[in-house]
Amino acid sequence: MQAENHIPTGFQSAPVMALDGITKTFPGVKALSDVALKLYPGEVTALIGENGAGKSTVVKILTGIYQPDGGAIRVDGNPVVFPTAQDAADAGITAIHQETVLFDELSAAENIFLGHAPRGKFGLIDWAEMERRSRAILDSIGAEIDPMAKLRDLGIANKHLVAIARALSIDARVVIMDEPTAALSHKEIHELYELVEKLKSQGKAILFISHKFDEIFRIADRFTVFRDGQFIGDGKISDVTEADLVKMMVGRDVSQIFPDRTPVIGNEVLRVEGYNHPTEFADISFDLKRGEILGFYGLVGAGRSEFMQSLFGITRPASGTATIDGTAAQIRSPADAVASGIVYVPEDRGKQGAITALPIFQNVTLPSLARTSRHGFIQLAEEFKLAREYTSRLDLRAASLDTPVGNLSGGNQQKVVIAKWLATQPKVIILDEPTKGIDIGSKAAVHEFMAELAQQGLAVIMVSSEIPEILGMSDRVIVMREGRIAAKLSGEELTPETLVRNAAGI
């Protein structure tokens, strides 16, 4: 272990907002311990850290969603408390969250102004004024959105622009941007950068959370690094290199190592032809062979997960056929997909992947109950046997097999979900963002295991938004953009540039 990189900061101006020794504990987890963060007027501070480093907890503390257990929040040097989100907003702190924290049934204008709507006579909400001001804000960020349109009728990128407009509608001193470019196209990202410059020139302090280093070096003035809920270092972005930041993030030198594999490609196992959906994807056709790892790359919201869920029988495509081992598969439900040998490890583990309230062994055997039972009656001994076999293959860490899955770490939950599907002895396994929200150690284990599965002749589809993972693991890559296949790449064509270019459409 080497000493922590602590680069002292030159104080030209006083921070408008600061976190001082903030600690936050959840049952069983210390999310933040004694962290510091300073935000300066007219400057962009990038908050850097892996998933689980405590970034989102910090955002929630800054915006009054969570209360810290210890430490102080200071605005202009004075300690403050934010009992509710409204108090944080009143103090001039605003956050651009993901599209999920908007209201589908309300209009764009109301989404922008909920909680601080313009008032007219008798203190009543002035809708005309709200519409006018919404239009002005939306115009200023170049969004072509009807302020009175219901949010549910907007696309993902436009929803995101509404979220940005909401943040701008508050006369804020501090603007928090939580991965603001995740769902935006290339053009929209550039417009966002211009917006950030404008906010800077207005003297607003900006907290910018991002995984993309090019982005951080492009617009940030300062950085703060967290690791495992602890403050690691901060400083000026001009004083560090990308390698320095990565080292601070993960605590060691990492050139991500992917398993070395010589793929043994077998016969074609899956052929997808002409999959179409009214709003989510169009013209998806490809084939997949035994022993192959096929990567699906694209920006968040490019329609990859939506297509995979359709292939798995969750949603019904408008047209298209899937052929497995030469015979047309009738996939009308996930049960049909499992029966024909296709299984899906979803991105959203808590909601779709595992049934977190149920114990590990019941999760593992859920799709295989027909095999572990006799005439429909449960055989607990058989169940434990199957669960034991697959959880040990995946090197699961848990106190006992009757522990609820919800008590496990993200990486171990993922192992339970994968074990559940391997126990069904599938032909094709679809892994949707398999290492998202998992610590570095478990990541390598998942990659290792994926390689092993392919080696054993399983056909693997891997949806990932991480370029190193896509390049490190895939034999071939399909890039999706706005619901369609933008490119099919293999061999020499597989470079970060080709991926990014095709994903962004430039």
Binding site: T63, G64, I65, T84, A85, Q86, D87, A88, A89, A95, H97, T100, V101, L102, F103, D104, E105, L106, S107, E110, L114, G115, A117, G123, L124, I125, W127, D146, M148, A149, K150, D153, L154, G155, I156, N158, H277, P278, T279, E280, F281, A282, G301, A302, G303, E306, T315, E482, G483, R484
Partner: protein, 327 residues
Amino acid sequence: MLKRFLASREILLLGAIVALLVVIATRFPAFVAPSNLADVFNDTSPLILLAIGQMIVILTKCIDLSVAANLALTGMVVAMINVAAPGMPIVVIIMIAVGLGTLMGMTNGLLVWKLQIPPIVVTLGTMTIFRGIIFLISDGKWVNSHEMSSAFKAFPRADLLGLPVMSWTAIIAVILFTIVMTRTTMGRSFYAVGGNPHAATYTGIDVGKTQFRAFTISGALAGLTGYLWVSRYSVAYVDIAGGFELDVVAACVIGGVSIAGGIGTVGGALLGALFLGVIKNALPVVNISPFWQLAISGSAIIIAVALNARANREKGRIILKTAEHAT
């Protein structure tokens, strides 16, 4: 686009009511005489008042099954007060009724807010408790017309510009709550809480407190209706308005209020109530046995909820560029 779409749901219902009236009018023109329509409206007023309160509760992802019991208990209390103190001014009686109803609504709201007990369990429980309390305080006896003071009975029937006070109460409530629901922060917070509780928290809205407010409003309206009901029908006993909570929920569902929360308007609740009111009043006129009423309102609920679900069916995420403005 949005306004047209929103309006269409209510316009559709309005169209259905008008069509119903037209069909009845072809055979029984007397039914659509203004005076008769005014009677139908007056008769439906209690349902309208309760449906408005219920709509707000349902907006916040809750349900209030105790409204009818609340109404009955408040009605019995004010009737007994009237018997004991015939000279008490009606204004005081109304204040007591609203206050008592509010108190019962707050009880529901507190259990939901502070103890996070599911609303259906809470109001199922308070519903039976409220009914039981009526029995305890009245000893199972009726308070009849001749025991009530004439002022007590006269108020809801008093004529004001050609309409009884009962009808005016409903009209004022409709106007007042339309303003509250569309033009005030509290009104919009009901929509926010039901539409996306998670996002509401991020916006600084306390979900539990908002649900508490919804129950309080529902209780207050039930209390007010309790007095109006007992004085108009000039009788109070344990079982008045028995099962009426289902009519109230039915009015909301028919009026396009989504049981999943976040969708609904005062206009919708009004029209839903009127739809049921017209059917109830029309059956005897068109010589259909009143025994048909229950089955008809049941069918109306099922058809309405099926139509609502069709309109709100999850269309999937909008990813393809061509799909975005097609809707």
